[in-house]
Symmetry: C2
Subunit: 418 residues, 2 copies
């Protein structure tokens, strides 16, 4: 079979499976997830062996330490995947929910019913556990999924895909519900992305290069998860004690993630008091600053900010700092340099807080809280497949519900249109 | 200025305007719509003159009668546009609505606030009134819009764009809220579709060729409005009297539109009784049939269906007919040949109706009602910009609310993440 035909058959099988999934029940899909949890726990040895092949290859190819770490499957990682399966199984089934039923003047009942999206392609990089996390969320929401993981995790992903297949068979669900592109060839991805008659949406998870490549080739909609250039604006009426704690949390708790703070904006009236207080709190963490003219003299460990430091995702203990004349200037800065991810204001002034909340465009806008809360678990979604920075369909953390759509339903008694 | 720079500036101006729109109020945006209504009513002469240029050119170029008709702006068309402005102004403002506010265990209040999508590009064909309909819906929902109409309506669209600009100025809104691509050059469209850093979504309205071309070039998400291959399944427990009326309405009331009936599926147990009854009712309308082996002897005006007749959008008084063994076969037929638009079952059996409702994948699934009801006005949306057949973001008629998104909002009192 030629590679083109192989990809086409995969997409068709995904479509078939998605149609069969429409007749399955939530408990049946949950059963597959619970079986998978048991299978994962019983397959530690097989997973380690497959993972070792990837790790050996990675080391032989001289992959950097951080990437090797992301690749490694420890007992803790495997157990966390099994727990994720059980947790997702315990979440409410969104499919079939009916919203907003109204009665029209002609007596028609009109509402919307929640349905699966259909066939979802997920294209991702290093971490093999994404294979399980992505597959179980898609399946929970009644979607079939086509996975394409990073080439460096190929062997690990293959064993996980095998376990997924076993779980599907045991739960009497079609094998096409979860499929893996059986090659790391880039041409195969391009072929997949041309098949919008079979695939409803593609979700790339990885660096900007991957996302750009997917957007360029995809004929179906792409739900993008770009980087986070997150700001906190400390208004002059902020509770400075709380503000120090929030900025510290947002910057240092886990600096390498997308909802970590990258740029602090401080109102000019409080900068001389607030910034030195903050610097004391952040000193033990060895935070370094790229500071504007006015903040530079107020901070140790600071160097003058260059224009590129604004809008930069440092993903480290480096932070840009700017003193602003007004809230309007802070909001303008965010509109110019923000990436639509997470933006916060710290203030005790209700009007100013509500203005910020209304006007700032980001997937999550926060008042008096750390940007680190922009996360599916923290916002109450139960589990997430990533944080969308596209405004279409889903903006912010995407949970099970965000992997569904709504169709109109009309219940009549013989009505015809005038 | 080079054409590339012109398109780029247009996109940037659209982005700037969309950010300024975030600080406007609903009443301010409504004011622009009401001013526009008055301007349209006062500009009959200018509009006719511009439209005459397009009509003369169309006739000189030998455009067919149907396309010329779509191009023509009569007093009724102009008054209908003015009325649409007033109607859309009267609809509730969706922006700033907050949904599903919950309290997290740590005391954070978490919900979602409705926001504009941002910058919307709309690429459409003949009818110049789409210029007004699309612009006012986008503006109502706080979006800026970039319009690109059909080349044959260029002069008509230009005068309408001028009136739109006047209304924006009088309502003190930025000129960039509504812009028209000042050329009918296709290369300019391709450039526009590459600018996903400025444009959030593109909506093509027109034939399949236009939609395919937009999907191919667009780097931002595309909300597709494909054709409608709509089915009605007459179950054996249908009320046949009502069923005849519904099929008649769905087929003949306006056969040239996307929610009209294209293929009738009838259960074998009632075919011999139902089809001749139906044929009597449809005879005065001169409906012709493409019939399967079993329905062919039961219908006058019928010829044997060829395989291509299934899945065909006739947009005329031709209708495909197939007798099926079971509801499962009807649903399989719909899954194979339907276009995800409008699908109906006619039956008095509650279980069978609910099964059809759950399992059939279409933007609108109807029980005992005409497929013609899949329309924004009929379903209670107030106004619509088209009927989406993409499941992402909005499936079915798109009204003002479907031109918005939701962002997460988090109200804290100093919370940090553990």
């Amino acid at each position: 079979m030629s590679p083109e035909v192989q990809v086409l058959n995969l997409a068709k099988a995904g479509r078939d499976a998605s149609q069969k999934l429409l007749s399955t029940t939530g408990p049946q899909r949950n059963r597959a997830l619970l079986i998978l949890a048991d299978l994962l726990e019983g397959a530690h040895q097989e997973i380690f062996m497959a993972n070792k092949k990837d790790m050996d290859l990675a080391q032989a190819q001289g992959l950097d330490e951080a990437r090797c770490e992301r690749l490694r499957m420890t007992p803790a990682v495997i157990n966390a995947m099994a727990e994720a399966c059980r947790h997702v199984a315990s979440l409410p089934d969104p499919i079939g929910e009916i919203e907003g039923m109204i009665k029209r003047p002609n007596g028609l009942l009109v509402g919307r019913m929640r349905i699966p999206l259909g066939v979802i392609a997920i294209i991702y990089e290093s971490r093999p556990n994404v294979t399980i996390d992505a597959a179980i969320l898609c399946l929970k929401a009644g979607n079939s999924v086509i996975l394409r993981g990073g080439s460096e995790a190929f062997h690990s992903n293959c064993i996980l895909a095998e376990l997924l297949q076993k779980a599907l068979v045991q739960a009497e669900l079609p094998a096409g519900c979860v499929q893996m592109l059986p090659t790391t060839d880039r041409a195969a991805v391009r072929e997949l992305l041309a098949l919008d008659q079979y695939i409803d949406v593609v979700i790339p998870r990885g660096g900007e290069g991957l996302i750009r490549a997917v957007v360029k080739d995809a004929t179906m909609p792409v739900l993008k998860h770009y980087h986070g250039v997150c700001h906190i604006y400390v208004h002059k009426d902020a509770d400075q004690h709380k503000a120090v704690a929030i900025v510290e949390n947002a910057k240092v708790q886990r600096p390498g993630v997308c909802n970590a703070l990258e740029c602090l904006l401080v109102h000019q009236d409080i900068a001389a008091e607030f910034l030195p207080r903050l610097a004391v709190a952040l000193a033990p963490h060895k935070v370094v600053y790229r500071a504007c003219d006015r903040s530079l003299p107020l901070l140790d460990n600071a160097q003058a900010a260059s224009p590129e430091d604004y809008g930069q995702e440092f993903l480290s203990l480096t932070m840009a700092v700017r003193v602003v004349d007004s809230q309007a200037q802070a909001q303008e800065h965010i509109a110019t340099y923000g990436s639509g991810h997470s933006e916060a204001i710290l203030t005790q002034n209700h009007d100013r807080a509500m203005h910020f909340l209304s006007v700032v465009d980001a997937s999550c806008v926060l008042i008096n809280a750390s940007t680190r809360f922009n996360d599916g678990g923290e916002l109450g979604l139960g589990a997430e497949i990533g944080i969308s920075t596209s405004k279409i369909h889903a903006y912010g953390p995407m949970g099970v519900k965000e992997l569904t759509s709504l169709k109109f339903i009309v219940l009549g008694e013989g009505q015809v249109r005038e």
